[in-house]
């Protein structure tokens, strides 16, 4: 009934604003067939959305604005991602093209990525992630920092105060000229997270406050951009982030007094040279991630340190009307941890060749081949083919693609003591996707309607799963062959009318992610949805801007999630509604003061994203920001 209601709601909400709307902030699956423009299947979120105080971090943003499902353990707590029904380690997070996924566990905690550090966030769904590397069986999240040349001095500072002791301070200093830019960003974020919840383990279900949930995050980012003669660009970025999180206990257990500290240092240099018909880019990064964990109750204190050197070279050129993209990547990772007997290393290289050719003015083909070579281990060849067709006169683009991807086991999978399994095979996927994109402008292109629909299929062989054993430890094994399939829908209406800007967008995804292996007659998991992957997920966002006042509202629906593999146990669906309003005031020509206020979970929904982990009810924030431009 909830699902039906949501679909109905999506339809009604779309109708509400179908008369008017625009904006250029969100694009999904925008494909251009003509000319030499790149073909892409990417959802892009720019700074106007990233800056909305409704979104706490990258995980929070993607949960509300994309087809990704974020498995969040609470505000500021661990946030892992599932894309197209795949596992946590099957989504790559790339920063300017360099993977940020941990070599230790293969995944990324999106709660550790502050939006203030990013200028743009994109999602490459499914096989489209192969443009940047292997491993993104579900897809990839690309975060970018972008240059903005021009003589200027820009100072920005904001302070947010929210419920449960949340305080967030952001500072940005940007300066430079036509050939040099320096950008410095500083963040400080903390919250007590001591919200109330119903204590279901005590008779009468009394209200209680979440304990041991405080977090403190501090970070600084420095970026330099140099525009060099002869169309050359050099950039250098440094990203330091420190997060100290107390880990709140489940409702059902006593406080463990757990604490996790993450210290991340990410440095990146990039050189680009734009020739007449070609482009050369070289990107190198050094990434250092330290994780310290303490459990006071168990008397446990462990630490893990991962250092990675990752580099890639891209050369794109046109040869006889064929666009060619070549790429070479090298990745060296070193990890030392209490869970590893000795420090372990992994070296891998990837090579990529892609050609794109217009067969007719409406029809384009793209062929690519990527190879992964793990030193002293296996090699994999991953072909991909893509066809694009533009239906003239209908503003309709159709595309189809198919190919393979691979996710090599993480260092923990292979070497963690006592249960690492060096005999693990890489997870290999075979995928196919069909899509249609429709765009149409109205009222002299002051209003725009965009929509897309995608069908996808993915078969993941050698699915790696960690399971407990009867002898007291967990062990990974290649258990299941998993099939995921589904559809993704996107609608956007945007309009500019005088001083009024409106934008409405809605996403809906259906995901079936199933294992078809059966251990024996009592195994009822075969053909059932994998745990914690919702079949239905939807979002509706409404943004309005009238003169200097802007209004943003976001509605999110998460369908039921099964929590046992036989689908006998489930968590109910939930809907969240957030809204905020912002007023910009000009001050002495060069300054802008912005005042924002917002409410999250307006409907005061009591819900659990993870079983027995309470989430906050209705809560509030106010924010003031000051911007100086010279």
């Amino acid at each position: 009934m909830r699902i039906l209601g949501t679909i109905l709601f999506l339809a009604m909400a779309s109708n509400l604003l179908s008369q008017n709307t625009i904006s250029d902030t969100v694009r999904i699956n925008s494909v251009t067939v003509n000319g030499h423009s790149k073909t892409r299947n990417q959802q892009t979120l720019d700074s106007s959305i990233l800056g909305n105080p409704q979104h706490l971090n990258l995980g929070d943003l993607l949960s509300k604005k994309s087809h990704l499902f974020i498995k969040s353990y609470g505000i500021g707590s661990l946030a892992t991602v599932s894309l197209r029904g795949s596992g946590t380690a099957h989504t790559q997070v790339n920063w300017n093209g360099i993977s940020l996924n941990s070599s230790m566990n293969g995944s990324s905690d999106l709660a550790l990525f502050p939006l203030f550090f990013m200028d743009q966030v994109g999602v490459n769904y499914g096989l489209n992630s192969l443009a940047d590397g292997t491993g993104g069986i579900g897809g990839a999240v690309n975060i970018s920092t972008l240059p903005e040349f021009g003589k200027q001095l820009n100072l920005f500072s904001s302070y947010l105060h929210g419920s449960f002791g949340q305080q967030q301070l952001n500072v940005k200093i940007k300066g430079g000229g036509e050939k040099f830019q320096s950008i410095t960003k500083i963040i400080y974020n903390q919250a007590d997270n001591d919200f109330e919840y119903r204590e279901f383990t005590t008779e009468g279900f009394p209200n209680n406050k979440v304990s041991n949930a405080r977090f403190l995050q501090k970070g600084v980012m420095q970026k330099f951009f140099f525009k060099l003669p002869k169309n050359q660009l050099f950039e250098a970025s440094l990203w330091f982030f420190n997060s100290v999180r107390n880990l709140p206990p489940l409702i059902t257990l006593r406080d463990n007094k757990e604490l996790q500290e993450d210290v991340a240092l990410k440095s990146l240099v990039k050189y680009s040279k734009y020739f007449k018909n070609s482009t050369l880019k070289v990107t190198s990064a050094f990434l250092s991630d330290e994780l310290n964990y303490q459990n006071e109750r168990a008397g446990i204190a462990t630490s893990a340190l991962t250092n990675s050197f990752r580099t890639r070279l891209d050369y794109e050129f046109n040869f006889k009307k064929i666009d060619v993209h070549t790429q070479a990547k090298y990745d060296h990772s070193n990890a030392s941890a209490d869970g590893l007997v000795t420090a372990v290393n992994q070296n891998r290289a990837e090579f990529f060749l892609k050609t794109e050719q217009l067969i007719t003015k409406d029809f384009k083909t793209s062929l690519s081949l990527r190879s992964l070579h793990v030193v002293q281990a296996e090699s994999y060849l991953l072909p991909q083919v893509r066809l694009d067709y533009q239906v003239q006169g209908l503003n309709l683009h159709l595309y189809a693609l198919a190919g393979k991807n691979v996710k090599y086991p993480s260092l923990n999978d292979l070497y963690y003591v006592p249960s690492g399994n060096v005999n693990l095979k890489a997870e290999e996927s075979e995928s196919a996707e069909l899509g249609a994109i429709y765009e149409r402008g109205f009222a002299n292109n002051k209003a725009l309607f965009t929509s897309s629909a995608t069908l996808f299929y993915n078969n993941i062989a050698n699915y790696i799963q960690w399971e407990p054993t009867a002898f007291g430890f967990w062990r990974p094994s290649n258990l299941n062959s998993v099939e995921t399939m589904g559809s993704e829908l996107f609608i956007e209406l945007s309009q500019v009318k005088g001083k009024i800007k409106k934008q409405l967008n809605a996403t809906y995804s259906y995901t079936a992610s199933k294992n078809y292996e059966k251990q024996h007659e009592f195994d009822e998991s075969s053909g059932k949805q994998l745990i914690y992957i919702p079949e239905h997920k939807g979002n509706v966002s409404l943004n309005m801007e009238i003169d200097n006042i802007s209004f943003a509202m976001n509605y999110q629906f998460i369908g039921i999630r099964f929590i046992s593999s036989d689908n006998e146990e489930l968590l109910p669906s939930y809907s969240l509604l957030d809204a905020s309003v912002c007023k910009n005031l000009k001050w002495r020509d060069k300054s802008i003061i912005s005042l924002s206020a917002g409410v999250k979970n307006i409907l005061d929904v009591e819900y659990q994203a993870i079983e027995w982990r309470p989430m906050p009810n209705r809560n509030y924030f106010i924010k003031i920001s000051y911007q100086f431009n010279k």
């Binding site: 008779e203 251990q519 409907l603 027995w612």
Partner: protein, 341 residues
């Protein structure tokens, strides 16, 4: 503005939810088996299943049903019946729930323990509770439901047994058996063992059998045979390779045949045997045996199968000559099986 009001109204309509229904406690009969479903660590999905030996009926989540919808907690590790009360050790919820055996409603709980594992009873006013993290042994009074005192143990303690006025405990961290005087609670002796001693049983001749898993780094499993009158090791039976595992131990009703969980099934051996058995009494096959119990009077063997650790498991019921009599679905990760009397 009207649009916004519609928007919010629609959301309210689809966010309504019904209240949980409550039921009267389900009474137990005289031939009831309680299956302890551990649940996943840190998932809070532990539960108790009731099984009627006579009519083979099954009631899932009996604790939650009979206690106003309240879940039992995180990781139900073990349980023991003391008089008319069932003491259920809920490991990761740091408590012992004390239930009325007539309907499994909660009488009270001993809270604020650390990570309790097993209980062994000395008498009606004294029982010991082992713990994973606390570095102590709890001494509780089962009648008053209180922690009376703690005893320093410096490390992880698993199963314990009492005989001849002495407490034998498996000290996992030190790879030792510690022997205490039950009267004075003082250490009498410590005996070195293979890696990770975890389970202990006392046979008909008051011989203590202790199984050592071999640890997490590929060590061999071993079975220690200890004379409790002299506290000397009579023999050590070691697995042929590190793949030969010896886990949970149980004795039959006459306490002359020892059963243990190996890596490929349930093994059995006479207490006078000089070597370990080569093949299992009940092979595991594609199943995932996680725990077992032997009925104290009928000798029927109940084995739990966790399947994939993520779905409701199965318990298989065999007679002593291993003919399967029944199989029934239980909760997630079924471990120990308790026969109420």
């Amino acid at each position: 503005m009207k649009q916004l009001v519609y928007f919010i109204l629609i959301l309210f309509v689809f966010s309504c939810k019904s209240d949980d229904e409550q039921q009267d406690p389900i009474p137990l009969n005289e031939s009831t088996v309680v299956i302890l479903n551990e649940g996943n660590y840190n998932f809070g999905n532990a539960s108790l299943t009731l099984y009627n030996e006579q009519d083979k009926s099954v009631n899932q989540k009996i604790f939650q049903t009979n206690n106003q919808g309240r879940p039992i907690g995180d990781v139900v590790q073990s349980a023991i019946q003391i008089g008319n009360e069932l003491f259920v050790v809920v490991n990761n919820s740091s408590k012992i729930e004390i239930l009325n055996v007539s309907n499994l409603t909660s009488i009270t709980a001993i809270q604020q323990l650390n990570s309790p594992r097993y209980i062994t009873v000395a008498n009606s006013t004294k029982a010991y509770v082992s713990d994973l993290y606390e570095d102590k042994l709890y001494v509780i009074n089962p009648s008053s439901h209180e922690v009376v005192k703690t005893i320093e143990t410096k490390g992880w303690i698993e199963e314990m047994a009492i005989t001849n006025g002495k407490l034998y405990l498996t000290h996992v961290d030190s790879n030792q058996i510690w022997i205490f005087d039950v009267q004075t609670d003082t250490v009498l002796q410590k005996i070195n063992t293979h890696q990770q001693p975890q389970y202990i049983e006392i046979d008909k001749d008051k011989i203590a059998w202790i199984s050592c898993s071999g640890g997490l780094n590929g060590g061999k499993s071993a079975l220690y045979k200890l004379d409790t009158s002299s506290d000397s090791v009579l023999s050590i039976l070691e697995g042929a390779s590190s793949k030969y595992k010896i886990g949970e131990l149980e004795l039959n009703s006459t306490k002359d045949e020892l059963h243990f969980l190996g890596n490929d099934g349930l093994y059995a051996m006479n207490v006078n045997a000089a070597v370990l058995p080569n093949s299992p009494k009940i092979g595991q096959g594609n199943r995932l045996f996680y725990g077992f119990s032997i009925h104290p009077t009928t000798n029927e063997i109940y084995i739990s199968d966790a399947i994939d650790y993520q779905q409701r498991g199965v318990v298989y019921r065999f007679n002593y000559s291993v003919t399967q009599m029944d199989a029934f679905k239980v909760g997630i990760i079924p471990g120990d099986i308790i026969f109420l009397n």
